[in-house]
Amino acid sequence: MNEMPHGIDAGPPHAATVVARTQESPTIFSLRLRLDDAATQAAYRFAPGQFNMLYLYGVGEVPISIMSDPEERNGIGHAIRMQGRVTHGLASLKPGDKLGLRGPFGRGWPLQEVSGCDIVLVTGGLGCAPVVSVIHYILKRRERFGKLVIIQGVRHAEDLIWHEQYARWAKLPDTQVLVAASEGAAFWPWHVGRVTELFGLANFDPDCAVAMMCGPEGMMRTTADSLLARGLPESRLFLSMERNMQCAVGRCGHCQLGGAFVCRDGPVFNWGAVKSLLEHRAV
C-alpha cells in the first residue's frame, strides 16, 4: 500500500468549527468542519477510507470516517449516526459551533493502485459513509477507472440516506446502482430482500475488478463469498473494519484484531489479512 497521509498525533485535538450541518435521516446527520488554524487546515490531507477523531467538549471522542473528497478545500465532511453520548451531543451542534478534531488516522482504500479496473462497492447500513468518499473520488476522476458498481443494502427502506445521489449515480454511464432493503416501504423504487440477492445482477469483469466493502461483518462475509465465487481474486477484495477505537494511534488496545490494531493498520484491510478472524464469532 502506498503511504497514507499522517495525522495530527495522539492529541490534543485541534479546534474546529462546524461549517455546515445536514440532517440526512432521522438518526443520521453530516457535519462539514474546518480547522480553526488556517495553516493546519491548509496542510490537512487525507485519503478516502481514513478517519478522524471528533471531540465533543467535556464528553469525549469518536472515530468518524471522512466522507468528502481529498481535494475539496471547503471543509472536511463526516456522516454520523446518533448512537451514543458523543454522537447525540454532536448532533446538536450548529454551524459556527466548536469541537475538536485530530486525524486523519489509519489506512484508506488502495485507490492509487486500482486505476483501470472495474470498481465494485458493497455497503450495508451506514457502511456507505467510508465508501461514499470513494464514489465521489471515482466520479471526479472517471477516466481512471472502468465500470462502477454501487451495491447498498439497508435493513429498512427508511434507513437509506442520499436517495437523490443514488438515483443520480444510476443514470451515469458505466455506472450501476443496486440497492436493497430487507423491509421495503411504499414507493420504494429498489429491490426488497437481502442485498446479496443482487450480486448476480452486478456487471463487472472479475479479471479486472476491485471490490471494496463496508458494513456489518456478517454481510461482508457473505459478500466476500459471492464475489470470490464469481472469480474475483482475494488480493483485489478490500474491506473496512470497525472496532472500539479510543486513541486512534495503536496504543489503547481496544481495536486489536489478530496481529493488527484496526486504527493504525486498518481500518481498510485486504480480505486475506482478516478472513480467518471473521470466520469466528466475537473475535
Binding site: A15, G58, C247, V249, C252, G259
Partner: protein, 379 residues
C-alpha cells in the same frame, strides 16, 4: 549500546544502604519493597537502611501470603502484584486539557506529568523483560507516547536475581529469568554475605564506581551463577513452545483452536474481574475519558488502565464485539501468547506468574495452555 564493564563488584551486605544513600544523594526518589495490605509493593522509602529483610512471598493459584525467610535475605520474595509498570505507564493520568470560553471557543493544551527521577530497587528479570515490551509499545518509532517517555526516562533500575522463585513463577521457560541479563542500570545477586554487583548502563556504572567496591571473587561470581541455575531448576511451571522465534507451536495451536471446548470450560470459572490484566506487567490497554470541571469552562482528557475482560472494552455503537467471558478470555490469551508475536516479535508473557496468584479463582495460565495444546478440539 552500553558495553558492560568487565568489572564485577562485591557489595557487602552491610553496605547496601550506601548504595541507596548514593542514589538518594543523586536526587532519586527511591522505591523499594514495602508490605502493604499483606503484599509486597514498591513504595518510596526515606532512610537508606529502610529496605526490609527476611520477607518471602508464598504464591499459588489464587493465593499470595507473606512468610519469613529463615536466612533474613533482602530479596527472597519473588514478586508482588506490581513492579515497574505503574512507574512508567501510570494507572491514571491526564493527557490534555481544553478550555472553553463564554463564546464557546475551545483552546486545547497538552499536559505532561512533572516527574521526579525514580530509582526502583528490587526489580526482577521478568519485570525488565516486560518493561522492554512496554517500551516497544509506547516508544514505537514515530509514535512515541510523551507521557510514558517522560516517566520512563527518569527511571533508574536496580535489578536483583531471583533466588527463591514462587510456585507460580515460570520465567525460565519463557527465557526471561531468573537472572537479569539486560535492561537494568545495576544488577545484584544476593549471596549470604553480600551482593555480586554489575552495571548495565553508564549511569549504573557511575553509581557503582562511586561506591569503590572491591572486585567480586571468582568464587562469588560462580556462586551467583549457580544460584541462578538452581533457581531456574526449582521452577515447577512452564509454558510450552515458548522459545522459538516465531512463537513456535504455541502461537499456531492457539490460533487454530478458536472453538476449542476448553474456552467454554475456563469461561465457566473466570469472573472477568480483570485482576490478571491489572497485575500483568505487559498489558497496556487503557481507556480514554473526559473529566469536565463543574464550572463548565474546562475539561481534562485522560487515560486509565483498562481490561479486555471488561464489558466496555469491545463496545461498539450498539453492540459488543466480545459479549461473553469465553470470547474475552480467548482474546486475552491469544493476544498475549499468539498475536503478540505478530506485533512485538515475541510472546507477551514473561513468566512472572502474577495472573495465576492474583486470580481470585486460581485460573492458571500454564494449565489452560496445556489443556488447549494437549489435544485437538472435539467435534
Amino acid at each position: 549500546m552500553y558495553q558492560r564493564p568487565d568489572h564485577t563488584g562485591f557489595l557487602p551486605l552491610a553496605q547496601l544502604p550506601s548504595l541507596v544513600a548514593r542514589l538518594m544523594a543523586l536526587g532519586y526518589q527511591c522505591l523499594g519493597p514495602t508490605v502493604e495490605n499483606g503484599a509486597i509493593v514498591m513504595r518510596e522509602f526515606d532512610a537508606p537502611d529502610g529496605l526490609p529483610r527476611g520477607l518471602q512471598a508464598e504464591q499459588a493459584p489464587g493465593r499470595y501470603r507473606l512468610a519469613q525467610d529463615p536466612y533474613k535475605r533482602y530479596f527472597a520474595w519473588a514478586n508482588g502484584p506490581q513492579a515497574i509498570k505503574p512507574q512508567a505507564f501510570a494507572p491514571q493520568e491526564s493527557l490534555w486539557r481544553v478550555e472553553r470560553d463564554a463564546a464557546g471557543a475551545l483552546k486545547f493544551a497538552a499536559m505532561l506529568p512533572a516527574v521526579q527521577p525514580q530509582a526502583i530497587i528490587g526489580v526482577r528479570a521478568c519485570d525488565l523483560a516486560a518493561l522492554a515490551l512496554q517500551d516497544a509499545h509506547f516508544l514505537r518509532e514515530g509514535r512515541r507516547d510523551p507521557h510514558y517517555a517522560q516517566r520512563r526516562e527518569q527511571l533508574f533500575l536496580v535489578a536483583v536475581q531471583c533466588a527463591e522463585p514462587a510456585a507460580t513463577c515460570f520465567c525460565a521457560s519463557t527465557g526471561d529469568g531468573p537472572t537479569p541479563t539486560a535492561g537494568y542500570d545495576i544488577a545484584l545477586a544476593e549471596l549470604a554475605d553480600g551482593f555480586v554487583a554489575v552495571a548495565g548502563s553508564a549511569k549504573g556504572e557511575a553509581v557503582l564506581n562511586a561506591l569503590n567496591l572491591s572486585a567480586a571473587t571468582p568464587q562469588q561470581i560462580e556462586a551467583a551463577r549457580q544460584q541462578g541455575q538452581a533457581s531456574a531448576a526449582a521452577q515447577t511451571r512452564r509454558l510450552p513452545g515458548h522459545l522459538s522465534p516465531s512463537g513456535g507451536n504455541l502461537r499456531e495451536v492457539l490460533l487454530s483452536q478458536p472453538e476449542h471446548p476448553r474456552w467454554d470450560e475456563v469461561a465457566a470459572r473466570c469472573l472477568a474481574c480483570g485482576n490478571c490484566t491489572a497485575v500483568c506487567p505487559t498489558c497496556f490497554c487503557h481507556a480514554e475519558m473526559d473529566a469536565p470541571s463543574l464550572d463548565g469552562y474546562a475539561s481534562e482528557h485522560g487515560r486509565i488502565w483498562d481490561s479486555c475482560f471488561g464489558e466496555a472494552h469491545g463496545h461498539l455503537h450498539g453492540f459488543n464485539v466480545r459479549p461473553d467471558i469465553r470470547s474475552r478470555y480467548r482474546q486475552w490469551l491469544t493476544h498475549k501468547l499468539a498475536t503478540w508475536h505478530d506485533q512485538f516479535g515475541r510472546s507477551g508473557c514473561v513468566g512472572c506468574g502474577r495472573c495465576i496468584a492474583w486470580c481470585p479463582v486460581g485460573i492458571d495460565l500454564t494449565e489452560e495452555v496445556a489443556a488447549l495444546t494437549a489435544s485437538e478440539a472435539r467435534p
